[in-house]
């Protein structure tokens, strides 16, 4: 299980930008995330990349919940300041 988890973490970290670009393509046209449709693509990709890079930090953290909290708090605050409705941040 540990070996598989490590492989997944390595993959996500090494391909974080590629995954973030695929996510950005999706979220920028998805009907449940209209607030993302007119944002600058590079800004959306940057958000996605920062999010995917969190995985290793969380996996190695002694307390993953605290690690997630500190990251998510900043993420939520930044989006809130930019006035995105929060219901559009966790859809697929």
């Amino acid at each position: 299980m540990q070996a598989y988890a490590a492989k997944l973490i390595d993959l996500i970290e090494s391909k974080s930008e590629k995954i973030a670009r695929q996510w950005a393509d999706d979220v920028m046209k998805h009907k449940r995330t209209p607030s993302y449709h007119h944002l600058p693509k590079e800004m959306v990709v940057e958000q996605g990349t920062a999010f995917y890079k969190l995985f290793r930090r969380m996996a190695l953290a002694a307390n993953p919940y605290e690690e997630a909290k500190s990251f998510s708090w900043k993420y939520a605050e930044e989006l809130y300041r930019k006035k995105y409705p929060y219901r559009k941040q966790s859809t697929r």
Binding site: R32, P85, Y86, R87, S90, T91, R92
Partner: protein
């Protein structure tokens, strides 16, 4: 995928009462679901049983999102009117998913090596169903929190 998912659904369906009771014990003591601590136990067990029954109906539905919308907007409205904050409502749902898996794991449903691929697929489908529910619940809360007018 179908065979294994059917096993998971069947196990959950037959043991809804046990899983709902284990969830209720958790939610009544968990630090992240404080608003549930003083709630009458039998009432929240009834809610959880209704939730699991509705959730299981979604599993084989061709349009699970449409069904989630139909059922879980109502679930969101009830929690909102009870004064449960959104973050606790969502965490209670996360615990519902966890208790479903914990029970299946306890019953060794995921332990047969040959079925690992199928079990991963059924877990992915479970996550997708919960993602839809979380979205619908959050959107409903958002609508109700908006100032009138």
């Amino acid at each position: 995928m179908k065979a294994f998912t059917a096993k998971l659904v069947d196990l959950t369906q037959k043991n809804t009462d046990t899983i709902a009771r284990q969830w209720a014990k958790d939610v009544k003591t968990n630090a992240k679901t404080f608003s549930y601590h003083e709630a009458p136990e039998e009432k929240i067990i009834r809610h959880a049983k209704e939730f699991y029954n509705n959730f299981l109906m979604m599993f084989f539905n061709e349009s699970p999102y449409e069904q989630a919308k139909e059922i879980f907007e109502n679930y969101a409205e009830e929690r909102y009117k009870e004064g449960i904050p959104l973050h606790e409502t969502l965490y209670a749902l996360i615990l519902m998913r966890r208790h479903m898996w914990l029970y299946a794991e306890f019953q060794s449903l995921f332990n047969v090596e040959v079925e690992h691929r199928q079990s991963v697929e059924s877990l992915s489908r479970t996550i997708l169903m919960f993602d839809y529910i979380m979205y619908v619940v959050t959107r409903k809360f958002w609508e109700m929190m908006k100032p009138a007018g």
